[in-house]
Symmetry: C2
Subunit: 406 residues, 2 copies
């Protein structure tokens, strides 16, 4: 396969947009990506668009790519619509890479776009139900109630499948606390760090900083998760332009190479196989001929603060059970040995689900080009993204890992 | 890129299934494909699933592949969910081909599955609305009313977006009649032919034959389309196993090669650019180093009988305006020079939209292996599929063409 370069990337600010739809958000992100690559809209030869929720939020199924891209004058070229829940657009990015790496096309456009909020309906909570096996939704929610609620017969977030995912994350956090003595304060420190980073990112949905006390005192969503440890609802789009090495030479002197691209699904044998994140990372490292020690900056799927801590362990940043220590030592802060979620992550940058995968790529691309402004990491050479989506039988349905290098 | 072989394929019968869901249908088709390839479910290294309507018909969005395949014990491997309306699974087939052709994986599984009918709700008409730009639905329906209905102020299929697509096809048929003198009888002959073929196909939804008079006398849907000139609502699944040349040698002595794979989108400049079908065919022929004269058997997207006639011209089987003559000469019947839709096509085999693309591949695969039973074409060497999906601004949103050869 050929070497592939990310030549351009762009994104909208993530936010709750009262008056903006999928077309408008896509157009802004794609235009920014094209401009950064120095090409016009007729140059990409194939487009892959990841979106998770348009079917539920706007009724637009089936041909989302064609509808949003034609509006901005992109037509004729092959367009593929991909879904993998919260990993929809990192899946699109893998396909864009594959179209170029295979030699089929020289220039590919990968897009992630999501509209979760509407002025009429507010945050569309219902859409999260579609990220699991809908036939098992009720059963899953029952299993995940915290012990106190089970005992009291409390309906845990009844009717709110958003809460389903938060319950899943809370359950994992409690297990980690029990097994390794990890503390609420350690989870909260991750939220403090990511909001500091978000305050330095003009594309972040939330740009305020919070103290440890404020994070711990914010409303409880599902023990031990407070609201400030959970990613918000929002809208947005992100886009990336990928080119073959030869083509890229015409357009950039700052190439960002795709060194590894892995996608995996959940397994019925997680105990033996490891998590989706660890399996995807292992494959991506193998492709890149690298180890976790080679990574200088990383974006991970911190749908909650505890999820980020668990990912430190799954992705090989530290041994199992050592995630809390890593937090206390500040290793993953900007200025630490391995900064994680310099963008603010899902917690502060926001998480319009289908847009997240390519938005992570955008952050690493900026960092590797030295263009991340106030949140720039000192001279990173290799970056990594990890993006998880959906759930089947208690595990992520789809997880991607990408390794990029300058 | 590497040469790729379709080693196995299988499908369910297309039908209105009262008691069968997406998981059950997928399992039958995938098992048939695995069995025909002589491999077990652990051999495929990547799976791509095309589906158009599950979000609307069952609420299952986002992770359809993982939900349906894990049920039959396929997990861990990369899974990609694709949508392109009626071309969803031929898009999945292109991606499966790409994963193998690129060298990334040696064995790929492509699946199409659809559930349009439910015992409670009957045929789910609403889902067709999602194959267009939903923001333009009302406007499109107004433009497409036949002149008589516009004059009389009749609501053309109000509330039934199924009828929207039939109105589009009827509009194209009327224009062809006016311009070239094509007759209703010529359209009806295509329906007669396809129902003869369907009567020879145990997987066809409709296996009855009809006379020319019966086709013309069946209820009018949208002038000149009678019901027997329109594809039905149904459920079903189809699957194909693709392997690299080297891997395929271990499993088959009857290789069916993928020689061309093209996907295109609609254009705002159809007059200059040609239709999506003609552009996709041109690209596939270029990849294969072939011309229409090399094709011995063909499956095309006959959502209606007139659509098939127009495709004869778009795909280069005859000159523009000559489609009617081709029909009268019996060229596309089994036994003719170039048999089209030997499976019965969408008209008789049925059209569970997301399943259609891979089901077309299955028919050509059978024909090229000489395993099509009573409908076998005499010793075909090269076959082709054409599959169109959705609509943006009056043209197909996505069209694929694949060329296969023994």
């Amino acid at each position: 396969m050929r070497d592939v370069v990310v030549v351009g990337a762009g994104m909208t600010r993530f936010a709750k947009y009262k008056d903006r739809g999928l077309k408008d958000l896509t157009s802004e992100a794609v235009t920014a990506a094209l401009d950064s690559a120095g090409i016009d809209k007729n140059v990409p030869q194939v487009a892959i668009v990841g979106n998770a929720a348009a079917g539920l939020s706007t009724g637009q199924e089936c041909i989302r790519a064609q509808v949003v891209l034609r509006e901005m004058g992109i037509d004729k070229i092959p367009m593929v619509n991909t879904e993998n829940a919260c990993a929809s657009s990192s899946t699109a990015f893998q396909l864009a890479w594959l179209y170029v790496a295979s030699g089929m096309y020289d220039v590919a456009l990968a897009v992630g776009v999501e509209k979760m909020y509407s002025a009429e309906r507010g945050a569309n909570m219902g859409l999260f139900g579609a990220g699991v096996d809908v036939e098992q939704l009720r059963e899953i929610m029952e299993q995940l109630k915290p012990p106190s609620e089970k005992k009291a017969g409390v309906e845990s977030g009844a009717g709110k499948s958003r809460s389903l995912f938060m319950d899943i994350y809370a359950s994992g956090a409690r297990a980690h606390m029990e097994k390794y003595g990890t503390t609420k304060e350690q989870f909260a420190k991750i939220s403090v760090k990511s909001h500091v980073n978000g305050s330095l990112n003009p594309h972040a949905q939330y740009q305020d900083r919070y103290t440890l006390e404020e994070v711990l005192a914010s409303p409880m969503i599902s023990e031990p998760l407070t609201r400030l440890m959970c990613s918000p609802i929002g809208d947005g789009a992100a886009a990336a332009i990928l080119m073959s090495e030869e083509k890229a030479k015409q357009f950039t002197t700052k190439p960002v190479w795709v060194r590894g691209s892995a996608l995996v699904s959940g397994s019925d044998h997680r105990a033996e196989d490891g998590s989706t994140s660890s399996r995807a990372a292992a494959r991506a490292f193998e492709m890149a001929g690298m180890t976790p020690r080679d990574i200088n900056v990383m974006e991970v799927h911190d749908a909650t603060a505890p999820a980020e801590l668990l990912l430190y362990e799954d992705l090989g940043l530290c041994a199992e059970g050592e995630g809390g220590r890593l937090v206390d030592e500040g290793v993953t802060e900007i200025g630490g040995r391995l900064p994680v979620n310099t963008s603010g992550g899902l917690l502060a940058k926001g998480h319009p689900v289908g847009a997240t995968g390519v938005a992570q790529i955008y952050e690493i691309w900026l960092q590797l080009r030295g263009e991340a402004g106030a949140r720039q990491v000192a001279d990173p050479k290799v970056g990594m993204t990890e993006n998880g989506g959906g759930m089947v039988r208690g595990e992520a349905a789809a997880t991607t890992v990408h390794i990029l290098a300058s």
